[in-house]
Amino acid sequence: MLPSHVPLSLVVGQDRRAASDGDLARALSAGEAWAAVETWRRFAPMVLTLAKRTLGSPSEADDIGQDVFCRVYRKVRTLREPDSFRNFVYTCALRVLQTELHRKKMRSWLSFQQPALLDCQGSGTPDVESRDLLRRFYRLLERLAPRDRIVFVLRRVESMSVEEIAAATKSSESTVKRSLARASSRMSRWMDDEPRLADGEKQGR
């Protein structure tokens, strides 16, 4: 267990930074304090970038990142092959993201909370047109089913292969291909069909 106040000795030394993923998983499982810091240092950029691109909001991505690592911390003892620690973290991230997307859909359905708009200010996009395009893009992504949305982002934004996505999401390749085809055709159609005022003109005038 980690102490409540993290001491300065938690700064990970160079030798620990060279530890393999397997050693790191074993150390985290054994409750060694340095391993938590090193796990974050090693995998947080990957997880936070994925979360940011999936959700479109840096602030939400921060929260999700912490949920992911808390899950990794709790579940690492169930890891049978410590050498595949990176895949384990990635799979945890995808599960947490999928749960979050389901939760958002549910909240939206129950009207507890409207889907948050893209917070792209923090990511330094000064160009109005780009901000607008990103906002529209994420508004349309909200309409996809969580699973399709994740597969779409992994393929089109993260540039992963179908085989990699299948492995990461624990699905068959044909399932991934179906999901991807569905998401891509819908997104393409929606993007092409969406002169941004169409709704407003139809409904408002």
């Binding site: 267990m1 102490p3 409540s4 993290v6 938690l10 938590a36 810091v37 974050w40 240092r41 947080a44 936070l48 970038t49 691109r53 479109g56 840096p58 991505a61 921060d62 990142g65 912490q66 690592f69 808390c70 911390y73 129950l110 009207s111 708009l117 792209c120 200010q121 923090g122 990511s123 330094g124 996009t125 000064p126 160009d127 109005v128 047109e129 901000r131 607008d132 395009l133 990103l134 529209r136 893009f137 089109r156 934004v157 179908v162 291909k177 085809a181 891509s184 055709s185 997104m187 393409s188 159609r189 993007m191 002169p195 941004r196 005022l197 709704d199 407003g200 409904q203 408002g204 005038r205």
Partner: protein, 429 residues
Amino acid sequence: MRTTIGEPKESPALTEATDLCRDTLGPPTPAELDRGLDGFLARISPNKTRPRRFVRWSLAGAAVAVCTLVALQVASVYGKRWSAGEPPTLAYQIDGGSVLEGGYLRESGHAGMNVVFNEGSRLTLAPGTRSRLQVVDRDGAHVAIERGRGSFQVAHKSNRRWQVDVGPFLVTVTGTVFTVSWDPVSEEFDLRLREGSVVVSGPVSAGEIALRAGQRLVANLAKVQTVITEETPEQASSESPSAPPAPAVTAPGLQPPAPGPAPTPVASTVAKLAGDHQWGRKLARGQWDRILQDANRIGVEATLSEASSEDLFALANAARYRHRSDLARSALLAERRRFPGSTRSLEAIYLLGRVEEARETGTAQAIAWYDEYLTRAPTGPLVGEALGRKMTLTDKLEGPARARSLAEEYLRRFPKGNYAGSARELLAP
């Protein structure tokens, strides 16, 4: 390669959006990672753990509570729908103009336009204002002002979301009355808030600035100035775009470092004040003088050499907003020197160009900073701005002949960018 055999071909707009998403939403900054690590460690500390039985019972109790809430919420939602039907769609009517494809508002005369919404909100556009309605739907409205002035009166009664793009700034609104203008030539943003509150975000604020009733925010990107002033009701109700800003809020400015050896503060003091990310939050709240006072108390030299990357950046911006270009330059140089390769250090290089531009003799040096940014961050988020500024300054310093190649490059890369108009003017025969 974006498609493989068996995958459908995606639309060009979608390709553009996914590329933009990849370029814009990049890896987290070191400061974000540090913040996240703090949160993660705090969450897995023993203080946060509970006996399993307690957790199980808590979960059971929470589940019951959630079910009850869900039932109530569903009953409330359907109850409302059954009794009152769907919430009304936002509809509007335009006087003095018409709406074109893409949402552009075209003035039919020279008296400006009025856009009246059925919920009671109203938008008045001054003559010559170039604007468009980006989104008008059940959830609210998104309006863009590309040039000119608009007065908004947003109804308090609805829960709709109103957002206004004003040049490179974004104004998020609930119920409020305000006037906002943007001049792309002088790069001046001016917002006068008469009622309610708004949140402004944009390229100079490094976050968000919340304004309350009676405040006025003037941001001039070319002069690297941002000023918030308090206005009397009479001033606030005046909508003259040429009205000069009122005197700035009293700013007991930070004194420049005294010549000779600077006092060396205790390191822990610096760590406490500079390492706890308070300055970023203070900056977002507009508490620029507080940041300068803190830095003054700690000691400028000590702050520059020991503050975190985020705090240095916040200090630089606070100094810029208070026209302390000497301190802003020092903080930005420290950011660049101490955190090479970080996103903030690249932003610092761009802002150094902005700081130099504010000096009468700093044009050449500003171009050099923009060059450095373009070299070190060829696909960075500020490339369009850096290239546009470089083009403008080259035109000013060396004449249009030298600036034309930059204008061509700008239009090729950013045909709809903020400087596209200037670039086209340069290339016009």
